[in-house]
Amino acid sequence: MRARLVARDDVLRIVDLLRARGYDVVAPFMGRGRDTWFDLVTDDNRSAVALHVPNPYYPPKRYVLPHIERLMVLRNVNGRFEAEAQPETQRLAVFGIRSCDLAGIKHLDRFYLGREYRDVYYESLRRGMFLVNMACTDPEQDIGPDCFCVCADTGPAARDGFDLQLVDLGDSFMAVAGTPQGEELFSEPIFARAHESDLARRRDVLAQARRSFRANTSWFTAAVRAVSTDSIPEKTWEEIGNRCLECGGCTFVCPACTCFTVTDRAIGPDTYERVRVWDSCALNGFTRMAGGFNPRRAVHDRRNRRFFRKLSHYFVQRELSVACVGCGRCAAVCHGDIGMPSVVEMIRRSLAEASQSQVAKPQGPMRAYR
């Protein structure tokens, strides 16, 4: 582990160093109450960058998979078909990305760049990114009531996927380099040598952080097994479906959701742009074909689909990571209280009931025991 110490007062100098290296830097900012967001750092707002902050609901995923993204321009040139594509490039550093969102990007990497087809738009944005992970150690700000990264095994401090990682030790931050680009920064004078005792402090801080999580979703891995073995009663999916308002909110705030739709819109005479837009499996039209046939009719079919896609062992193996990173955003935004933690709990309860009713069947010798 390549580690250095940065004095507390110097930590935002990392933002300056990245800007000096030609990166646009985005970082978290805090408004009133729970209102937080990632924004471009400028000379004017630089001092307002928030180190410990409730994770913004709008995930930094959008820097690599924009909400709306132009894929190409299509032209009708005297009856001829012309398509021209220019994938966007960027040199962008995300300062203060949380471990869950980092795991989300890692998942997107595997999804968009793995397997037989590579997504050049994703690749083109991703290639120019520098990721500075801030470990979640502040129980008041960083660790929210819905956070369950400890159960999804993504936090509070990411193990990999970052260029640089910061852990707050109080008077200073421990910086860990994850890539040669990250390590290159260590030549700057703000980075001082770290000692064995600092590493011990880092371990203590993270152990303390782990104890600060409130959401109890330790049953998460068991839910993976239950979904993968198709042992969840249909009734439970129906209950979950009954509570879904079909708003798509859970998918739009999810750092690991990948679905998009594609649409063409006019931008001039005989000229159209083809854009991709985030889409959601919660929406009724998601699977509806031309002509009206929809293979997924009921809302609980669609909810089942979302959780199956996220938790099934098959896809975990296929992408080598779970499509749920434990950020808790779906739990925070869902009006029907069927975010991932609640669904895990509903699955747990339904299986517990099923096994109880089996035990409760009249069984002679068992009764004699009581």
């Binding site: 032209r75 001829r80 398509a83 990948t258 739709t261 031309a290």
Partner: protein, 281 residues
């Protein structure tokens, strides 16, 4: 078009050469790529694969490839059913449109070598199967018996009439057609496509047979029932699924059912797989 640096979403320019009306609202579009190099890349397609077709100003949709790779002609057969297919139907010979592909797994025709082939299609379900039938006839010596069972609602709605008349007349292929409702032009069998299996003189071997089934959901369900009753195992009934698709390359997520993305893991599945995917056909 599947190279590492290639932009998989970018359609290649194509030109419409001529159209041929098949039945009401269903038309075949004969076309060629502007750039012969695109055609060379496209030429290796398999029966059962599909392409993404772009029409300027309307959008993009997935379309089966009815021609066999053994044929030189490139064409799509498309029903007018929504905004993009409406726009395609409005194109005139000489007009340009976009094509990318081929995509999907296709039918494993090599694996079926030496087997008897039974094709069962209803309505426009014959479109993707046309490719396999022509392919199998081209490589006649590689397969056992070839039987085609085809049903449409009315005689007017029988697809690929000329081609099918030719198949019926050809050596080594048995071709049976039926309609749900006859009219004065029809003196053939009347009834659902499954009733053809029971026609006098018709025998359908099942010992070493693979059955290709394609058609509307209700037809699919009944034909599957018939085939299973005849003793065909689920793993030797194959079909191709239709789903809403935006990308064709396993990214947009619309066609994902069960553990499969229909566009890359399908569209060809055995009935055994389809049943486990757990969604309506």
């Amino acid at each position: 078009m599947t190279g590492l640096d290639a932009n998989v979403y970018l359609p290649r320019p194509a030109i419409l050469d001529r159209v041929e009306d098949e039945i009401a609202d269903v038309r075949s579009f004969y076309w060629h790529f502007e750039d012969p190099a695109d055609d060379e890349r496209f030429a290796g397609f398999l029966p059962g694969q599909f392409a993404q077709v772009s029409v300027i100003g309307a959008g993009e949709f997935p379309a089966s490839l009815p021609p066999s790779p053994t044929e030189r002609e490139r064409f799509f057969t498309v029903r007018k059913v929504g905004s993009v297919t409406d726009a395609l139907h409005a194109l005139k010979p000489g007009d340009g449109f976009g094509v990318r592909g081929p995509y999907g797994n296709g039918f494993p025709m090599d694996a079926y070598e030496g087997m008897d082939l039974v094709f069962v299609a209803g309505g426009i379900g014959i479109i993707p199967l046309r490719s396999c039938i022509v392919y199998a006839m081209h490589h006649r010596q590689r397969y056992g018996r070839i039987q085609v069972f085809y049903g449409a609602r009315t005689p007017r709605e029988l697809m690929y009439r000329t081609a099918m008349d030719a198949w019926a007349a050809a050596e080594g292929v048995e071709c049976y057609r039926t309609v749900d409702r006859a009219d004065e032009t029809w003196d053939g069998p009347v009834g659902v496509v499954g009733s053809l299996f029971k026609l006098p003189g018709v025998t359908v071997p099942v010992g070493n047979t693979v059955a290709f089934v394609c058609g509307p959901p209700i037809m699919f369900r009944f034909v599957i029932k018939d085939l299973l009753a005849m003793g065909l195992p689920e793993g030797r009934i194959v079909s191709t699924l239709e789903r809403y698709m935006k990308c064709g390359v396993g990214k947009c997520g619309h066609c994902c059912i069960g553990v499969a993305y229909v566009c890359v893991d399908g569209p060809v599945f055995t009935y055994e797989q389809i049943r486990k995917l757990g969604e309506d056909i």
